[in-house]
Amino acid sequence: MKVKNNAFSLDAVDLKILEALQEDARQTYTAIGKSLGIAHSTVYERIRRMEQYGIIKKYMAVVNAERTGAKNITAIMTVYTDPKESEEVAEKLCKAPQVLEVYTSLSEELLIIAKVVAENQESLHAFIANYVAPMQGVLRIRTSIVTKKFKETQLSIVNSPQKLTPL
């Protein structure tokens, strides 16, 4: 990894290490080094620097919520806002623990798209009616409750758009 004027450029070895960590972050430096044909001390040093510069943000467990017995529902909420208030609405949404992801989109109108979880339809409705709808600048809301999940993954070095090839 090269650092110049606070900008980072990752070399092929860094990318290979990231790819290995995204596959399994619990594998040892020795195991990664062995699979890449480099010394474990090199792996350690590169990972340490990538952590230091915020390229590796954190290590976390990916939990299968269904297996935990939780019967939550997930909904995709589209919030139409007054353009002057949209930043503030998005920031307030981010503060709610029920809201997992928040995005803004500029299509015909300025929209906020948010992924929300709730215990059931009633608590989802209560959250939207009592927390989201009363926010200054919210014009209307469309909510779609997810009925079946086909895929959920994080963008990684492995599936980054640059590496994708058409099916």
Partner: protein, 109 residues
């Protein structure tokens, strides 16, 4: 007219106590009512689906009791629910009952 002299049912409430009209779970119409007068006006504005949605969930009655503190109006609205109306008939019934009640309250002030 001073705010203290106004009966609670005729006051204007802050945004967090307003009634928000939804057509189904999570689908907010963009219309809300911060007072009984505004609620009356919005009956003729919102999609009738929103009126059906809230009436049969008991949301109107809940708001009338908890925010407006008007049990009498809630009981009148409940009678519409029990009549199993829908569409334009429901809209007219609801409007007539709320308008009559509002007029009666105003005449007392």
């Amino acid at each position: 007219m001073k705010e203290e002299a106004t009966p609670k049912v005729l006051r204007t409430f802050p945004r967090e106590k307003a009634f928000y009209f939804f057509t189904s779970v999570g689908n907010y119409t963009g219309e809300s009512a911060s007072s009984l007068k505004e609620f009356l006006d919005k009956i003729n504005v919102v999609d009738v689906k929103a009126l059906e949605f809230h009436l049969y969930r008991g949301d109107f009655e809940k708001w009338m009791v908890e925010v407006l503190e008007d049990k009498e109006l809630a009981t009148k609205v409940k009678s519409i629910r029990e009549g199993n109306y829908s569409g334009i008939t429901l809209k007219e019934q609801l409007y007539n009952i709320v308008a009559k009640h509002y007029k009666m309250l105003c005449s007392k002030v």
